[in-house]
C-alpha cells in the first residue's frame, strides 16, 4: 500500500475537487503549452521557410535583411560566387511591383519575382510545371494560387504583365507571358499576389538591361563546405558585401523581430505557472485542512511523516499530471485556432506559423508542471509535517 496508492484513492474519493483541479490545470496548462509553442514558433517556422528555399547563404543590398535595396553589380558578383569551390549554386532574385492581366480582362497588382536559374523551394508547384521545365517559352510564369483564381488562369493560359518600378511612373508596354504552373509562394503573405518568372523575362518587362541589379543573391553551399565556410569565402572574394548564412539571418530576426513574442510568452507562461501553482496549492491545502483529523490519526497510529508527505506529493502530481496531459491536446487545438487568427495579419508570409511544436516545448511543459506539482504540494506537506498530533485530535473531538 504505497503512498501513490493512497493518493490515487484519495483523488478518486474527492471526485468533484479532483475534477475541478484537473480541469483548471488542463486549461492553464493549455495556455502554458501555447506560450511555449509561441515563444519559438515564429523562429522555427521562419527557419523552416529559409531551409525549404534550398539556399543557405543570402547576399543583400546595403539596407540589410529588413530593407530591400538593389545590389550593384549583381551579375558580376554571381559570376564570382560560381567560381568559389564552397558554392554549389547561385540564384539572383529581383522583385518589382507589376500589374498582371488575365484573359478575362481582370487586372491585379502583384509582386513580380524574377529568378535566375532554378529557384525550387521559393515556391511549391501546385498545378502545371516549374519554370525550368517550360522549355522554349520566352516568358514562362508561375502564378500564385490566389492570383490564378482571380485571373481564372491555368497552366497554358497567357497573362499580360506590366512592370511598375517603384518611384517611376510606368509607361512600359506589357509583355505576354504563358502560365507554366500555379504555385504557393513560401514568403507570400495572405492577400499578397505574386507572379514569378525568369530574370530575363523580368528584364524585358522592366526594360532593365541584363546586368540589372538583383535585390537578393541566393547561394547554396556545398555539403562538404557548409554555410559558414561559404560566407567566409564570399567575404574574402568580395569584401564589403552584406552576406548572411541562414543561421545569421535567424539570429538577426531572433534579436530584433521575434524578441517581443519571446518576452510576451515568457511573461504569460510565468503567469500561467503561478495560476496553476495557486490552484493546486489552494485545493490541496483545503483538502488537507478538511482531513487534519484523519492525518493526525494516521500519524498517531504510526504512519510516518514521509509517507504522509509522499501521499500529498503524489496527490499533487496526479492532479497536475492528468491536467497537464489533457492540456496537450487542448493546447494544440487552441494553438491551431490562434495561429489561424494571427496568420491573417497583413504582410506575413502565408506559410509562416506562430505556434510550432518542438520536442523542447514538450520537455519544458513537463518540467514546468513537475515544478508546479512539487511547489503546490510543499505547503500542505509542511503543514502536515508540523501537525501537532495530540492537539489536532483534541480539536477534532471538541469540534
Amino acid at each position: 500500500m504505497s503512498a501513490l496508492h493512497l493518493a490515487w484513492r484519495t483523488v478518486r474519493r474527492y471526485r468533484a475537487q479532483t475534477l475541478l483541479a484537473i480541469a483548471g490545470v488542463a486549461v492553464i496548462g493549455a495556455l502554458l503549452f501555447d506560450m511555449l509553442l509561441l515563444s519559438r514558433g515564429l523562429l522555427l517556422s521562419f527557419a523552416d521557410l529559409l531551409e525549404r528555399a534550398g539556399y543557405d547563404v543570402r547576399i543583400v543590398g546595403g539596407g540589410g535583411m529588413t530593407l530591400r535595396m538593389p545590389i550593384p553589380g549583381s551579375a558580376g558578383i554571381a559570376d564570382t560566387l560560381r567560381g568559389l569551390p564552397e558554392i554549389e549554386t547561385v540564384a539572383l532574385v529581383r522583385i518589382l511591383p507589376a500589374r498582371v492581366a488575365g484573359r478575362n480582362g481582370t487586372s491585379v497588382s502583384a509582386a513580380l519575382i524574377g529568378v535566375s536559374g532554378a529557384a525550387s523551394g521559393v515556391w511549391t508547384i501546385v498545378r502545371g510545371v516549374d519554370l525550368d521545365r517550360a522549355s522554349g517559352e520566352p516568358c514562362p510564369v508561375i502564378v500564385g494560387r490566389t492570383l490564378a483564381d482571380a485571373l481564372h488562369a491555368a497552366p497554358g493560359d497567357d497573362v499580360r504583365i506590366t512592370a511598375e518600378p517603384a518611384g517611376v511612373r510606368s509607361a512600359l508596354p506589357p509583355i505576354v507571358c504563358r502560365v507554366a504552373g500555379v504555385g504557393q509562394f513560401a514568403f507570400g503573405g495572405a492577400g499578397d499576389e505574386t507572379v514569378a518568372t525568369t530574370l530575363e523575362a523580368l528584364h524585358r518587362a522592366s526594360g532593365e538591361d541584363r546586368a540589372g541589379d538583383a535585390d537578393l543573391i541566393l547561394a547554396r553551399s556545398r555539403a562538404d563546405a557548409g554555410a559558414a565556410a561559404a560566407v567566409a569565402a564570399i567575404q574574402r572574394a568580395r569584401p564589403g558585401l552584406a552576406v548572411y548564412s541562414n543561421d545569421e539571418v535567424l539570429e538577426q530576426f531572433n534579436r530584433n523581430g521575434f524578441a517581443y513574442f519571446r518576452q510576451i510568452s515568457l511573461v504569460l507562461s510565468s503567469l500561467t505557472m503561478v495560476f496553476a501553482f495557486l490552484l493546486v496549492a489552494t485545493l490541496l491545502t483545503v483538502s488537507v485542512n478538511q482531513r487534519l483529523g484523519e492525518i493526525a490519526a494516521l500519524r498517531a497510529i504510526g504512519i510516518g511523516r514521509r509517507r504522509v508527505a509522499a501521499m500529498l506529493l503524489w496527490e499533487s502530481a496526479l492532479l497536475v499530471g492528468v491536467g497537464g496531459l489533457l492540456a496537450l491536446p487542448l493546447g494544440e487545438l487552441l494553438a491551431l485556432g490562434l495561429d489561424r487568427i494571427l496568420r491573417q495579419m497583413p504582410g506575413l508570409p502565408e506559410q509562416l506559423h506562430f505556434f510550432v511544436f518542438e520536442p523542447r516545448a514538450l520537455a519544458v511543459h513537463v518540467a514546468v508542471l513537475v515544478v508546479t506539482a512539487v511547489a503546490a504540494a510543499a505547503y500542505p506537506m509542511w503543514v502536515t509535517s508540523r501537525l501537532p498530533i495530540a492537539a489536532t485530535l483534541r480539536r477534532e473531538v471538541v469540534g
Binding site: M1, L6, R9, T10, R12, R13, G293, E294, A296, A297, L298, R299, A300, I301, G302, I303, G304, R305, R307, P388, I389, A390, A391, L393, R394, E396, V397
Partner: protein, 222 residues
C-alpha cells in the same frame, strides 16, 4: 512487568489567557495484560494523559517510560515506529481512512511496518473475523455502521500485535447496545493478552476494567 509508566508527569498548555495545567504530577503504570479504565469529567485531563502515554504528546515535566525506554530520549522517527509496532490507538471518531475499505484500513499499519503482502492479507482476514467483520472486508467506512467502524478501528489498532491498546472514548459516538459490543470486544482483546487503557465517560465500559481510576482537575484521585 510495566509496559508503560508515567513518572510525576505534568502537562501545561500555553493559552492566550495564561497557561492551563491539564495534568499535575500524575504517576501511573500499566502492567502487561492489564485492563485499566480512567473516568472523569470532560476536561479533567484523561485524553491528555492517554496522549502522553501513547507518545503523541510530550509532558511539560516528568517522564514517560515505555518498555524501559524514556520516550523523551527517542527521536521523532523512533517514537513513530514505537506507536506503529507497540501501541494501538482507538479514537472516539474512529478516523478510518474514508477512501480505503475496512480491510485496507487494517492493512495500512502492517504495510507501514514492512509486512509482506501475503502476511498482511492473512493477518487482515484473521482480524476481520476476530472483530466480526468478515463479510464487510471490502466495504468503505461510509458503508459501515458506527459500531462496525469502531470494530474495524480496533482491528486496525491490533494489526501489528501491540503490547498496549489506548482507547480514547471508544464508545463516545455509539448507542448503548453497540457500546456493549465494543466492551465485549475489549474484554476479548485483553483476555488474549493485550494491555488496555481506556479513558471514558461510559461507566459500563469502565466497569469491565480490572483497575478503575478517576481523574479530577488533572490529577488521579482513585
Amino acid at each position: 512487568m510495566d509496559i508503560v509508566r508515567a513518572n510525576d508527569v505534568s502537562r501545561v498548555f500555553p493559552m492566550p489567557a495564561g497557561p492551563v495545567a491539564a495534568l499535575r504530577r500524575v504517576s501511573l503504570s500499566i502492567g502487561s495484560g492489564e485492563h485499566v479504565a480512567i473516568t472523569g469529567p470532560s476536561g479533567c485531563g484523561k485524553s491528555t494523559l492517554l496522549h502522553l502515554l501513547g507518545g503523541v504528546d510530550a509532558p511539560t515535566a516528568g517522564s514517560i517510560v515505555f518498555e524501559g525506554r524514556d520516550l523523551a530520549s527517542l527521536s521523532e522517527a523512533d517514537r513513530t515506529r514505537l506507536r506503529l509496532t507497540r501501541i494501538g490507538f482507538v479514537f472516539q471518531r474512529f478516523f478510518l481512512l474514508p477512501m480505503l475499505t475496512a480491510a485496507e484500513n487494517i492493512e495500512l499499519p502492517q504495510a507501514e511496518a514492512g509486512a509482506a503482502a501475503a502476511a498482511r492479507r492473512s493477518r487482515t482476514r484473521e482480524l476481520l473475523a476476530y472483530v466480526g467483520l468478515g463479510e464487510r472486508a471490502d466495504h468503505l467506512p461510509s458503508q459501515l455502521s458506527g459500531g462496525e467502524m469502531q470494530r474495524a478501528a480496533i482491528a486496525r489498532a491490533l494489526a501489528n500485535r501491540p503490547a498496549l491498546l489506548l482507547a480514547d472514548e471508544p464508545t463516545g459516538e455509539l448507542d448503548e447496545a453497540t457500546s456493549d459490543t465494543i466492551a465485549d470486544l475489549f474484554d476479548r482483546v485483553n483476555a488474549d493478552g493485550t494491555a488496555i487503557l481506556v479513558v471514558t465517560h461510559n461507566h459500563a465500559l469502565a466497569s469491565r476494567a480490572s483497575r478503575r481510576l478517576a481523574m479530577r482537575s488533572g490529577q488521579l484521585v482513585a
